[in-house]
């Protein structure tokens, strides 16, 4: 039996009151509730405050480059499909620097779970606008207010028919742990966009701001209805829906590769007789 203690407790570099603390708790609970131990999973992150998450629990981890968590995670998963691979990074890393990989990951549908810590601001570099920062938000880098329209990751993912799209809130740990458990059991690419306050650099979208607006989708909501999901995905402002917004049963990328039927690629003998035949075709 896996217990929460297996994942350990570590001192963090996060600010007191940061949403990251709760997301880390929810992650551990989601993993334990899924029966997954530290040696069965691989956490992959990029760079940023959220990306440090992988250092604050016992697990296999690869802390790669800013924006490049998804490609590294995809490569690791294809090399060993038995690994449960989880991407853990922020809105800047995943939607800004890594935007192209986000689109490609949705299209590929490799069995990965991507948890995005979305605080609508850059924390580690001290307060510049992120792709999800709202219009007009004033920062030292955008002194006249952000001119760009914010990126809506949920709408993009649903529009592209990503196989699992959900939104959570760091202020609702039980709900978030439940979403993580669902995502981990889903076959295919799963996105959980997690809203979180940044106590140091986002004085607009505070804990109270989110708390006031977030609501969980009702029982009767059907996440397999794509058109309804598109509408839900566009809902933002006074009311922000939380929960599984869309899911489908698209075939996973790995299922198309016969090579992966036997599991991990490592350790397989190279068949030199076969290679000899291949080379013979050059004669």
């Amino acid at each position: 039996m896996v217990s929460i203690e297996d994942y350990g407790e570590f001192e963090t570099a996060w600010c007191p009151g940061c949403g990251n603390h709760s997301i880390l708790q929810a992650l551990k609970r989601g993993l334990v509730d899924s029966g997954l131990g530290p040696d069965q999973i691989l956490l992959v992150s990029g760079i940023g405050q959220a990306a440090k998450t992988v250092h604050y629990l016992n697990a296999n981890a690869f802390n790669g480059l800013h924006g490049r968590a998804l490609p590294a995670a995809s490569g690791a998963k294809l090399a060993n499909p038995n690994l449960k691979v989880i991407v853990e990074s922020g809105d800047g890393c995943n939607y800004g620097e890594g935007g192209n990989h986000f689109l490609a990951a949705i299209r590929r549908n490799i069995d990965l779970t991507m948890i995005v810590h979305n605080n609508q601001v850059y924390g580690l570099t001290k307060g510049q606008a992120s792709p999800t920062t709202q219009e007009g938000f004033v920062t030292k880098a955008q002194p006249e207010g952000v001119a760009s329209v914010p990126f809506n990751p949920i709408a993009v993912a649903v529009a592209m028919q990503a196989s699992f799209v959900a939104r959570g809130f760091s202020g609702m740990v039980d709900h978030l742990a439940g979403l993580i458990k669902h995502a981990l059991s889903h076959q295919g690419f799963s996105l959980i966009d997690v809203l979180q306050p940044c106590v140091s650099f986002n004085k607009v979208n505070t804990f109270g701001w989110y708390k006031e607006r977030c609501y969980t989708l009702p029982e009767e909501y059907d996440p397999t209805d794509w058109q309804a999901a598109m509408q839900t995905a566009m809902e933002w402002g006074d009311r922000i829906p939380l929960g599984i917004i869309y899911r489908n049963q698209r075939p996973v990328f790995e299922s198309r590769l016969a090579v992966l039927e036997q599991g991990a690629l490592v350790g397989r003998e190279t068949d030199l007789k076969k290679l000899e035949k291949i080379m013979d075709k050059f004669s």
């Binding site: 691989l42 697990a59 296999n60 490569g75 690629l265």
Partner: protein
């Protein structure tokens, strides 16, 4: 009199099937026992333009392309206009009877009467095969092997046209002396540099290849993709080069030995990933098939101008190895070696080739696979009660690798500075310790360095020095220049980093004059040798017009200054 060596140039526009007949002719020559060196020149377009496929064929072994044309096969009138002046004395021009020509030695072939429209290339193949003295059965077999199964009806039609053309040509009185019989007929392979890299990687046990298409590197990935399901590897076309290298690093971290083929501009996007492989100590083989830059440059031509770039790519300090194969055979063996060194040193290892070598098909002895081992992956699989730390410190700087998810041990690796457990740190003493640990691995790389190949007199009057694909050209130039009064030697680097001075400095110092021959404008190897040894080469022969260096180019350059 029969020739022991000659140069055939097939020219036409893209879409006319000149590469198709070039390949069939190359295969027929190799199967008939001849040695060949192919050089391809093409424009960056799908249709039209002017392209050439040049086959230098010889009774003896050859390793370089040469200038001049003995048999010009013109599929369009433009080819005649562009290449007629290159015809050697006694050279023959094969043209359609409708083409204008000033050449007095011409075989005017009725392309459309012998084959209908769109089959001119097969008509030309029949004519050139007869003129070279190839047997119709050999050429017919090559044609059947290529198309017989894929499109039987088309193959039959092609065969008929080939036979008619061959027969027609036999009835003409062409003034052309054929190739002498080969010195021996034995099984050889027709393979180019990129194919040999792919085969070398397969023999080494490659398990993962991610790439973004870019000329002239693409066919490495395509050759691997063709064999992926058979040989048990995954080949994935990434969304961009940044994804390609990061995927490969992720795959390698999880245990799959990985290769990333690219070219200059694509490699530029990968450089942060190179640094990540250095920091996370992840084995990775990167092939950079050079083409002329800067920026998009000449996408389909050749150059050797990325040596300094590859040597310095990636921020920060970490060890690396750079191989620079000079022949198709070396492409195979050095790719295997690259996987070995990557696994042993746990970091990025490069194979630096170029468009010329990538596309240059040669007749090669079949590689002996018997007894070859899959490259040691250096992964620890035993079980012990001791805790495991990914970056544990040993004298060699090399920390045994374990794999995530393959045992009870947790594996943590990363791009931040880290203590032995792989988690991030800002302890500056640890930082210093880890820098030194990583750099110590260079000793392991140095122990494996392939020494440069020195040929000729020990104290030559003239020593020609080069690296990579220019090998064949300096060898042949040295042979041609060597005589009783001037002794000429050659020195070829098939690994350009790390340089180990005692392996070559003596040869440089004992030569009368040292000339560095390179396909770039800076003289990058010469600069590197000076930086590492203090030795300043005396002269340089450089080429940067997009074409490969030939023996004649070197001899001409030496004579003119």
């Amino acid at each position: 009199m029969e020739k022991t060596e000659l140069n055939v140039l097939i020219g036409g526009e893209a879409g006319q099937g000149l590469v198709t007949i070039g390949k069939l002719l190359a295969k027929s020559l190799v199967r008939s026992g001849y040695h060949i060196v192919v050089s391809q020149s093409y424009q960056s377009r799908i249709r039209g333009g002017h392209n050439t496929y040049t086959i230098r064929a010889s009774v003896e072994e050859i390793a370089a392309p040469r200038e001049g044309v003995d048999l010009l096969v013109a599929l369009n009138a433009e080819t005649v206009a562009l290449h007629e002046r290159e015809l050697s004395a006694g050279g023959l021009n094969i043209v359609d009877k409708a083409f204008q020509t000033t050449s007095n030695n011409c075989l005017q072939v009725p392309y459309e009467e012998l084959g209908e429209k769109n089959f001119s290339n097969v008509v030309a193949l029949g004519a050139v095969s007869l003129l070279l003295g190839l047997e119709l059965e050999v050429v017919g077999k090559a044609l059947d092997d290529a198309f017989g199964k894929k499109a039987p009806e088309l193959a039959e039609k092609n065969m008929q046209i080939l036979q008619d053309s061959y027969k027609w040509c036999g009835q003409q009185e062409a003034n052309f002396s054929t190739l002498a019989p080969p010195s021996d007929i034995r099984k050889r392979l027709l393979m180019n540099g990129n194919e040999a890299i792919a085969m070398g990687a397969l023999s080494a046990g490659v398990k993962f290849c991610s790439f973004y298409p870019m000329t002239p590197a693409t066919s490495i990935a395509l050759n691997l993709a063709t064999q992926a399901s058979k040989m048990g590897l995954v080949v994935e076309q990434a969304e961009d080069e940044i994804a390609a290298i990061n995927m490969a690093i992720g795959a390698s971290f999880a245990g799959a030995s990985s290769i990333v083929p690219t070219s200059g501009g694509g490699f530029a996007l990968m450089t942060e990933g190179v640094s990540l492989a250095g920091m996370s100590e992840t084995p990775l083989v990167i092939v950079v098939a050079q083409r002329p830059g800067p920026a998009t440059g000449l996408p389909t031509r050749t150059e050797q101008a990325d040596l300094e770039f590859v040597l310095h790519a990636g921020h920060g300090e970490f060890p690396r190895a750079i191989f620079s194969p000079g022949t198709v055979e070396e492409c195979f063996w050095l790719t295997r070696k690259a996987f070995e060194v990557a696994a042993k040193s746990q970091g990025p290892v490069f194979i630096l080739t170029d468009q010329f070598l990538a596309d240059s098909a040669r007749a090669i002895e079949p590689f002996v696979l018997k007894g070859l081992q899959t490259v040691e992956d250096g992964i620890v699989r035993d079980s012990s009660d001791l805790p495991y730390f990914r970056y544990n410190i040993y004298e060699s700087g090399i920390s045994p690798r374990r794999l995530p998810g393959m045992s009870k041990y947790l594996v943590v690796a990363g791009s931040d500075e880290h203590p032995i457990d792989g988690h991030l740190t800002e302890d500056l003493n640890v930082r210093k310790f880890m820098v030194e640990k990583r750099l110590r691995k260079e000793e392991e790389i140095i122990a494996e360095v392939v020494p440069p190949e020195i040929q000729g007199d020990e104290n030559p009057d003239l020593l020609l020095v080069t690296w990579g694909s220019t090998k064949g050209a300096i060898l042949e130039a040295a042979t041609k220049l060597n005589n009783n009064s001037t002794r000429v030697g050659s020195l070829h680097f098939s690994q350009v980093w790390p340089l180990v001075p005692h392996q070559f400095l003596g040869a440089l110092e004992s030569a009368g004059e040292v000339v560095c021959v390179e396909g770039n404008a800076f003289g990058q190897l010469a600069r590197l040798i000076r930086r590492e040894t203090g030795f300043a080469v005396h002269r340089q022969v450089l080429r940067y017009d997009g074409l490969p260096i030939t023996p004649e180019y070197i001899i001409r350059a030496l004579g003119s200054s």
